[in-house]
Amino acid sequence: MLGFLERPVVVTADINLNVVALTAVGLLSRLWQLAYPRAVVFDEVYYGQYISFYMKRIFFLDGSGPPFGHMLLALGGYLGGFDGNFLWNRIGAEYSSNVPVWSLRLLPALTGALLVPMAYQILLELGFSHCAATGAALLILIENALITQARLMLLESVLIFFNLLAVLSYLKFANSQKQRPFSLRWWFWLTLTGMACSCAVGVKYVGVFTYLLVLAVAGVHAWHLIGDRTLSHVRVLCHLLARAAALLVVPALMYLLFFYVHLTLVCRSGPHDQIMSSAFQASLEGGLARITQGQPLEVAYGSQVTLKNVFGKPVPCWLHSHQSTYPMIYENGRGSSHQQQVTCYPFKDVNNWWIVKDPGRHPLVVSNPPRPVRHGDIVQLVHGMTTRFLNTHDVAAPLSPHSQEVSCYVDYNISMPSQNLWRLDIVNRESDTEVWKTILSEVRLVHVNTSAVLKLSGAHLPDWGFRQLEVVGEKLSRGYHESMVWNVEEHRYGKSQEQKERELELHSPAQMDVSRNLSFMARFLELQWRMLTVKSDDSEHKYSSSPLDWVTLDTSIAYWLHPRTSAQIHLLGNIVIWASAGLATAVYALLFFWYLLRRRRCIRDLPEGCWLRWVLAGALCAGGWAVNYLPFFLMEKTLFLYHYLPALTFQILLLPVVLQHVADHLCRSPLLRSVFGSLVVAWYSCACHVFNTLRPLTYGDRSLSPGELRALRWKDTWDILIRKY
């Protein structure tokens, strides 16, 4: 029972002082004077507003990445007691006293600092010497661009942290695979790999490339495992299932969790509501929910409604009509029906109200009890202000001549009979007798005579149409498109005849509570879809660059300039490290192909273990560089130098790998080896010198004279700001 007392409690601790020391210098380099400058620096202006939204719990939509990164930044604000009251409008604006600058910048700085010991660990796990590992860490330590990026409220260093964490924990897992599979340690590192991957994806979408790389390496390892005939079938299956669970299921769940927390946190309506669907908006506090609160759920004959287009591009808008008619003759000489215009209008307006009418009955009010409209019913839509019927006919639309014109019927044109019957088609119905519901139902209005569907064409009408959006009738057979789908947003039962008012008040309509009706998955899917499809506007930027400029560091970004002196923060890399990292990649590739070709001819230069180590290091480091760099050539968004930093980090890890390989295998004689060693030391001191020279631009703490700044402009393309006195 008390057997454990028979042995003394012994704690043995192995402390690798290398790691401790590297962590310490890492922290020092990243945290030193962290709260300086006390002003908005570059993209802080962009991330800062999201932090404020979190603090105020206001809903927002940012297409640049999933919410996990923003949430991490906001966590710093929360711990620092930030109330969100700061106007993020201008780079260089002084922070007011309520902004906890230090704690806001702390998290990126910490992750940036931890890169240093992690680089050390990764090289060790790859099977390289402590010397090479320390070298990798020291290179990360003095990389100016990484320091600059880590010391501000930006997400790159967080992304890089999770990227490296994923690689590191996968390596730890793979190494414990050889010793004790299914041990606690094995499970820990395996799960951590999956979690780090999903965190990386959660910070920025580009994290997915590292995730894919890790998956590919894991896949190859699993394939070898399948080929391992010493394992039983069941055991192989267990291995595969464990990997699938940790590397596929866990990340997916974590990703959902980020959105769950995000949607729980930002629950109030805000400036980005308009992009979302009515149902989503109604699930937020305030905003649309306040307007639609207490409105009847089921649309009935006699209901007064506003109809919002579900697609909402180029702008969200409501079906609209007004007194003006289509011009008799358009500019290009085509004629119109000269009937009342029907458009889509992006603002709330009294002319957006329509009354749902039963074609067989006269009154425009809701009967008692209300007769709900169901899928497949034929209805007429009456424009509330002008009492004209929504109509379409075989006349070419003003701007989209292949589609039909939609108008409100004016009866003086006798040659054109009114064609105002529409069939209701509820797209997201669950049964064929479903009732048309406010906000929740997405409907298509199919014209009975011509089977045209009411559609937002996306074109802006000219001046005669007051620059509102064109609405047309499109052939149903063209297929399904979201711009054909509408939903009821505001809704009330019509009660224009006074005598009926009392009756209706007595009859209480079914109340709706959309926020409870909309499930998390529905909200997640909508939000994710909108994030992926939202378009950023004008994409030109003074400091944008193309991926080709990155490898050679032909570009730079001015982050911040002191309001009075020339002290400035400038994103510039340590050019010695960039150049040698690029060189190392080339050398690696050459050597790799050389060895590969020779192995194919059965000439084995390297022992098998060494070769495998060399391949794995290349797959992770050179592969990490490639997957984080090459896809940018296919991207059409505005790119900046900092997008290269994840790739660069992997490239830097490759540098000591190549150096050690050259020292171990290519320098045959001890003399050559010592010469090579001293060259490496000289090269590293050179890198240190460059770091030191560029330090004022990295930390922005010291104002340099124009002459000194001009001297730092080593490349013509570096736009170092020089203040004219």
Binding site: G227, F311, S477, E540, R601, E636
Partner: protein, 820 residues
Amino acid sequence: MLCATSRLLAARTATALPAQPRGRGPGARCRRRELHFPGHPEVPLGEFLAGRLARSSVSASRRAILRRGRMPPAVGGGPAGSELRPRRGRCGPQVTRAVGPDVAAEPAARSPKRPARGSRRFEAAGRWALLALVTLLSFATRFHRLDEPPHICWDETHFGKMGSYYINRTFFFDVHPPLGKMLIGLAGYLSGYDGTFLFQKPGDKYEHHNYMGMRGFCAFLGSLLVPFAYLTVLELSRSLPAALLSAALLTFDTGCLTLSQYILLDPILMFFIMAAMLSMVKYNSCADRPFSAPWWFWLSLTGINLAGALGVKFVGLFIILQVGWNTISDLWHLFGDLSLSVVTVGKHLTARVLCLIVLPLTLYTATYAVHFMVLNKSGPGDGFFSSAFQARLSGNNLHNASIPEHLAYGSVITVKKLRMAIGYLHSHRHLYPEGIGARQQQVTTYLHKDYNNLWIIKKHNTNADPLDPSFPVEFVRHGDIIRLEHKETSRNLHSHYHEAPLTRKHYQVTGYGINGTGDSNDFWRIEVVNRKFGNRIKVLRSRIRLIHLVTGCVLGSSGKVLPKWGWEQLEVTCTPYLKETLNSIWNVEDHINPKLPNISLDVLHPTFPEILLESHMVMIRGNNGLKPKDNEFTSKPWHWPINYQGLRFSGINDTDFRVYLLGNPVVWWLNLLSIVLYVLLGSIIAIAVQRGAHLPAEVEGLSQVLLQGGGQLLLGWMLHYFPFFLMGRILYFHHYFPAMLFSSMLTGILWDTVLQLCAWSLASPFLARGMYAAGLLSLLLGTAYSFYLFHPLAYGMVGPLAQDPRSPMAGLRWLESWDF
């Protein structure tokens, strides 16, 4: 993955088999991956199965080898250094001999009868007869009612028109390379079409114009796809039924049929793709006789077809990737073969570089040379190209023109944007409307030649008339500060800190001043790109930038169309971003200066490589410019394999003659199912092999065909399909058809294999045979019957639309999105 696995398998087989001197006998030639139809090789199932008869001995011998276990590589008893060695397990018959008569005798004894020489001849004859039948059927279906409808269908309006351009020798611009249209033009020319038909819009009647030559040419190439598929599958699987099934799928596919019947690039493109695939496969089969005549023939034919595919559309790049991948893995195996000397491997490499890189590139360039030679008259495509290029075209105002070469003060010039389809710097007597920047005169770019495009270069500080004969000529140099005065309105090109009308981050550009007197905001620095010193500025050839002196911005054009107040001309802005993008680079086109001597522009003729490069840049930009709009219906790549929506070729209403491009749904859905099934089956086999399971000999043979032959086809399908997901340009349904060819061939191989596997697993030989035959026949008859049902889509139909229950097609509208 699968593909890699198949290589793995292949490599293993190759090493497992001993090296052999190559036999010359007919049995030794190109025979590989033998199939075995379990037990009953000699029972004729009609012609269909004839192909299988002769091979029983071979498969039996293979079984024998496998039963003995794998041979260690050390056994390799062939003469050392023999370079003609079988690879990749293609050496079944040779092995028979190596193993010795005792082993070979055993299966021979078991198998009822060795087919006689006569039956082998019979088999070859049957094979040819089948090929002839397949070809005949294909031609019959493609040429049936080729002349209908006698009006322009869909994209015939483009490609027919371009054919006419070749006949008329007028220059035009298209986003595709020229070969396809050149062939169409040639076909038209040879068949007596005179190029006078206008090809204005779909639906226009051809009347007396001879269009059948062009349609017939396309239909001819389209008909050849079927025999090509037949031969390819036969080569890959060595199974006649598989080849027949693939051919039937393609023959009876309404989509392929429709696409082959009109004047389009697609039949030409698909012809070259399939021809390249076929010759690659053929050449792979000759791998045991390197550097022989057929080997060279097929190798160079592959290269020629690659050039053809790329010359028709850039989609041809995908088949180049496939051939490239095949070649690399091939070389990799050769390189790993230690019995081959490095010199021999080098020879192999050189042969491939010559035939697959140098030859296609030469041919591709040659098509452009012909293109530029034929099209020597000015035409609708001029405006897309640079001024220097236009000078080549007779009829263009730059052709044979003579203008002063260097810019001088006082010259009257037009300034053209270097980027295509932007036009000339332009101004006119209309002001920017209220609320849009300063209310000054508009400056735009305009695509057409016009008096309002003329500007006068003046010195920034004097307003003296530089054309006064008393002044000496003063040339404009790189870095000079100049003023550009609009000739018609005498206002200066001007910019200031007001935001531009559309691009809000840029500055507005206006015309300002009275009679040439303005302010310091009218000063611009003229710079030549890539020039350091104060050199003169050349007409047409110098690429210049205009930098605003006060604000430091660069004159550029965003390419956005101004609203009606700007006459829908394009916006001109001054951009504060000093990047050297094409948006801010201009050149001087017209140049009038009486004080300077004129030189002939002929000296400025661009060289052929320059023209080639320029036309490629223009094509790539043109392709990138084809972007879909938000609210439009666009075809998405995921629509295609499920045959979600067709394309209307002709006719809309019930009275029209309607042709609708839609795949035969039976064929397409079978293809889709086959891909899924293939991936499943392939993974199962690959994992089983990786786990070290010993497959029975029959299954082993089948799985080799499945993984290697099928792997090639699956790769082809993936290469021709998945890249479309990455493309930003507007996509159409017909882009899927090259991929569909591959997927149909895969279906043929897969079902043949699946049926054989099923038959093999049945105990009773009679049942097995019956099952196999029944399965195959039902597949063939099913596709044929579905073609009978759907043929009106391709051959045209009149009458009520399919939504109408009265229409005979009403019951065939299986998806709501089909619209015929």
